[in-house]
């Protein structure tokens, strides 16, 4: 890594109060990885917390897939975000979402499938069914928005009719 890159990384870390452990791990990366990361970090104006999340996910993907961080950041879907139009914060947030998708592909696929299953029940708009974030448990959260007793009774009746299907959301 060039002295210029080292200085850029150290300066960014200092300006953003990045914990020393992260700065040190960043500087210990292979030069091309460290440099690719500072380019994206500066280009997207990542905040400190966003950098930490991105850094951890990138390290994990690299170890899991046995590829370099620079190679990951070269992926088409990530390049499109980094080089695309839009605001810095919007692009930063999109980058993190895209990285999570690479890190947790089956989780996203499962979320999509379960929500499609729930949508297929055709529940009215007064009933909102949500799944736990990251599918960390097997619970369903059901929110009912009713305006008056009649609507409430109707929604409860519809819910009762769909109870088995909803209860079977996670069927193995």
């Amino acid at each position: 890594m060039t002295a210029e890159h080292e200085t850029r990384i150290s300066d960014w870390a200092a300006e953003h109060h990045l914990p020393d452990t992260y700065r040190d791990r960043w500087l210990e990366l292979a030069p091309e990885d460290a440099m690719a990361l500072i380019s994206v970090t500066e280009g997207l104006h990542l905040r400190t917390g966003q950098f930490v999340v991105a850094f951890e996910i990138l390290v994990e993907i690299a170890a899991r897939d046995r590829v370099s961080i620079a190679t990951i950041l070269e992926r088409r879907e990530l390049r499109r975000i980094v080089e695309g139009k839009g605001s810095g914060p919007g692009k930063a947030s999109a980058l993190l979402d895209a990285l999570r998708l690479i890190r947790f592909p089956r989780l996203q696929e499962m979320l999509d499938r379960l929500y499609a299953q729930i949508r297929a029940l055709g529940l009215p708009s007064g009933v909102l069914v949500s799944l736990p974030s990251d599918l960390a448990t097997d619970e369903l959260r059901i929110e009912i928005a009713a305006h008056g007793g009649l609507e409430l009774r109707n929604l409860l009746k519809l819910l009762a009719e769909n109870a088995d299907a909803l209860g079977g959301t996670y069927e193995v």
Binding site: E60, A63, R66, R106, L107, M110, D138
Partner: protein
């Protein structure tokens, strides 16, 4: 298997015990040191690059100052538990699985401690009264250490098999990832000792279960103890979700049942990979290249990283189906899972820990 040691440290108070004599006789060039109080030797050595790994290579023969019997440390009201009682005869393990909870649990005392006053455990066991309904208690030695690692040096396991052979209300479970069974083959367990193996697919063994016997060697050892009159059981735990998990577990189950008849297996337990954030951090530091630590685990309400729930349920369901195809009445239970996960998988509420414990002890 012969595990390597850097040193053996013996507390003066244990110097003349039979187990100390056996360990000294088998030291085979490993330096032996005597100390008044060995507790300091068990603590981590901050000068070591990997103090936990260094602790595994330091055998410490000492007296246990606490009771030997305790409830299973994994037990909790949050989970549908199995009523397991743990007998702590040793602490830490010469093998080094990347996912092992001991990396956190004994992080401050990683020395491999072996308790020379283990016969005191017999007094504690004697105080466990037979239950009124005749139900048995299941007591294991493989929670904070492997039950059989180093048994070729210590010869302790046979003493316990012999003790339990004369206690109709107790079942001993020796849990291991070794094939170190020679000492067991000369004792008649009279149906009161069960030897259980943790089994993982070959891919997990190669990636994560360092210095353990291969899955095939474990299965072969199970066959031998079965023929010697022992009961056998298996723990498919931790199950790790990677892209070929389904296929690899199908192969594992097939190879298990081709050597050990499913009807001869007392039970099979299943549990998903689970790691507290600090264990996960520690494991990742020690094994940064192990892809098995980088599955799709998410932080769950019990404070542990686990494979996200529907995928975990799918894996359990697949395995249960494979096992049931071979032996529909095989007792199966889940380790460290909630009652709702149990209900989804088995279609019924779990038994109470006491009921399940008695059922497994008598299986």
């Amino acid at each position: 298997m012969k595990f390597e040691l850097d040193s053996i440290i013996i507390e003066e108070g244990c110097r003349t015990t039979a187990v100390a004599n056996r360990v000294i006789a088998g030291a085979d060039g490993i330096p032996v040191q005597f100390v008044d109080d060995a507790r300091a030797a068990a603590r981590l050595d901050p000068s070591a690059a990997d103090s936990f790994a260094a602790g595994k290579r330091r055998m410490i023969l000492m007296n246990r100052r606490s009771p030997f019997l305790m409830g299973c440390p994994a037990g909790s009201n949050e989970f549908a538990c199995c009523g397991y009682l743990v007998m702590v005869l040793a602490s830490n393990c010469p093998m080094d699985c990347s996912y092992c909870f001991l990396q956190e649990y004994v992080a401050d005392n990683p020395g491999f401690q072996l308790y020379a006053n283990y016969s005191d455990a017999f007094d504690e066991l004697d105080r466990l009264q037979p239950r009124a309904n005749g139900a048995k208690l299941r007591i294991g030695t493989g929670e904070l250490a492997d039950s059989l690692a180093f048994d070729s040096r210590t010869g302790i396991a046979a003493d316990f098999v012999d003790y339990f052979a004369r206690r109709d209300h107790l079942t001993l479970e020796l849990k291991t990832k070794t094939d170190e069974i020679e000492n067991l083959l000369h004792v008649d367990p009279r149906g009161h000792t069960l030897v259980s193996w943790t089994l993982s697919p070959d891919r997990v063994f190669r990636s994560s279960e360092h210095r353990t016997a291969s899955p095939q060697a474990r299965i072969a050892a199970a066959r031998r103890v079965l023929e010697a009159g022992y009961k056998v059981a298996f723990h498919l735990d931790p199950m790790i979700a990677y892209s070929e998990t389904d296929r690899d577990y199908a192969e594992l189950i097939e190879s298990l049942f081709s050597v050990v008849p499913p009807e001869a297996i007392s039970f099979i337990s299943m549990g998903g990979l689970r790691m507290t954030p600090s264990l996960r951090r520690r494991a990742r530091e020690r094994f940064p290249e192990d892809p098995m630590l980088l599955g799709e685990e998410v932080l769950t309400p019990d404070g542990r990283y686990r494979t996200f729930t529907p995928l975990r349920l799918k894996l359990y369901g697949k395995l249960r189906e494979l096992i049931a195809q071979a032996h529909p009445k095989m007792p199966i239970y889940l380790c460290m899972e909630s009652a709702s996960v149990h209900q989804r998988l088995f279609g019924s509420a779990p038994l109470s820990p006491a009921q399940l414990g008695a059922h497994l002890a008598g299986a």
